[in-house]
Assembly symmetry: C2
Homo-oligomer: 302 residues x 2
């Protein structure tokens, strides 16, 4: 997990770990590269959140039988690079006044959904139109397909089981369930992946690369939707108002788009930098009205 | 859907549509073949349930954008052979005194989970150890992989959205969510599929075929778990008592095992017929104490 956590550990040049694909040949999916970011605030904030999510996941996965299925699930869960949406979920919960524990099951579900997506994205299909990065496959394709299929319901099971009927918050957990299943589904993440597959299907790679608008659309649907969902779910679970939930949803959308675009295009593209600056300004505006210290903590994403 | 519904339409020799795989070369996974069953009761009962589930699914899928994703999802949802677990969910709900509408979202989710499983089971992987039946692939493998990934969360989204917070039954919907995600996950259906993959990996097909115990284990985990889950969920949603829910869970387990084993081995194996007779007796015992007319309706599975 060392690399997965490194982006939240300091005030220096840090890699952004979201969806690195070192050997993707398609110009749209440029190599993973370090991104210069300045962490403006408490350097241990994101590290402590990620540590708590990791501990929650490790406890949940190790407690299960059968090992022949859970061992590969454990491996693939932690082999996937860490996505920033789960941590954002926890930070949003704290921003609206909730306790971290309230968001950990949803954050863990989000990581598991991402891990399932990452695993399936790298499956060797016989007639793949999509470039695959050279990750090491520890298990046979059939097993990786099955484990990916098991990982999403496992995440949602953890979330559903986290509900305590005595607390009378079941409707809130169900609201989060709708948010997460919708984000993971056909109108959001899967639609983003579909667009990516269709774009990479094009023979004209030059054209593929030049279409920043197309990349933006993919990132809005995949990375944007996942981060918007994470932030909104955190706000719901933390007891935020409707306005706070929607502010967090927008904040997450901008953050996710930035993450996705920089990971796909790199941080040296002038057109992209302009776009990112605009998105960053929009994101910061969404933090107005929140507790200042907490807003500073969550803004340290930049 | 004609073939999918035919098994519940009369008192004659009817095909059982659960998981037909006409060209599976592994001896463990024998060709789909018609099974002689006698439907003892109201022939329109199961047809009307399946018709309602189908209508519910069609309405849900057609109402969505984008069509480039939902068209394949619509196709793959209805191209999958109908599994009997969703109908059992509705029948169990009615058995305990609930209204059919209460169980339709969960029944639809179960069908979608089965359709996703069926779609992924037939993906052409580069290094597959598992025999694939010769189904017609309408879409490219990448698209079928993605659509399968989208189908499960879509089913769970339908279920989560079906909750009306004003009815104060959110905890019951969450209970069903736990049941379904658990059944679809690593300890049940996926474990069954894992065992199937591992068994078919064996070079000794003769030995593979002779292991009725191994087939029984696979069927208990895959078909048994799915039917147990369906029946238990129906009872939960219909407002059944703990005892009724557990009776339905056991009933579904026996039914599912019977369905799975007959579909894999055929109905002419003497050893299997003994086993099936025993399971049928156990299933019928679970119906004691319920309303007689309704118990007769649900027992027409045999």
């Amino acid at each position: 997990m060392a690399r997965a956590l490194s982006y939240i550990n300091g005030n220096a040049t840090l890699p952004v770990p979201c969806r690195p694909n070192p050997s993707r040949p398609c110009a749209l999916l440029l190599p993973y590269r370090p991104l210069k970011v300045t962490v403006s605030c408490n350097r241990s904030y994101w590290a402590s959140i990620n540590s708590d999510i990791e501990a929650h996941l490790k406890k949940a996965i190790q407690a299960r039988e059968p090992p022949c299925v859970f061992d590969p699930m454990h491996h693939l869960t932690f082999a996937a690079p860490r996505n920033t949406a789960p941590a954002l979920c926890v930070a949003a919960c704290e921003l609206v006044g909730g306790h971290r524990d309230q968001a950990l099951p949803a954050a863990s579900a989000l990581h598991l959904i991402y891990a399932a997506s990452f695993t399936h994205e790298h499956l060797p299909l016989t007639e793949s139109s999509r470039p695959k990065s050279a990750i090491q496959h520890v298990y046979r394709p059939n097993i990786e397909l099955l484990i990916g299929d098991a990982t999403l319901p496992f995440g949602l099971e953890l979330l559903a089981k986290s509900d305590d009927p005595n607390q009378n918050k079941s409707d809130r957990v169900l609201q989060v369930m709708v948010e997460i299943t919708r984000a993971a589904g056909s109108q959001e993440m899967i639609y983003g992946q579909y667009c990516e597959v269709e774009t990479c299907q094009s023979d004209n790679k030059e054209s593929c690369h030049s279409h920043i608008g197309e990349i933006e659309r993919i990132c809005e649907k995949y990375d944007g939707a996942m981060h918007a969902c994470g932030a909104a779910c955190g706000a719901i679970l933390g007891g935020g108002s409707e306005e706070e939930i929607e502010k967090m949803r927008s904040y997450g959308l901008y953050i996710g788009k930035i993450q996705g675009m920089i990971n796909r295009i790199g941080s040296h593209d002038k057109d992209l930098n302009k776009l990112v600056d605009g998105l960053r300004d929009l994101a910061i505006k969404e933090l107005r009205g929140f507790n200042e210290a907490k807003a500073k903590a969550i803004s340290s994403f930049f």
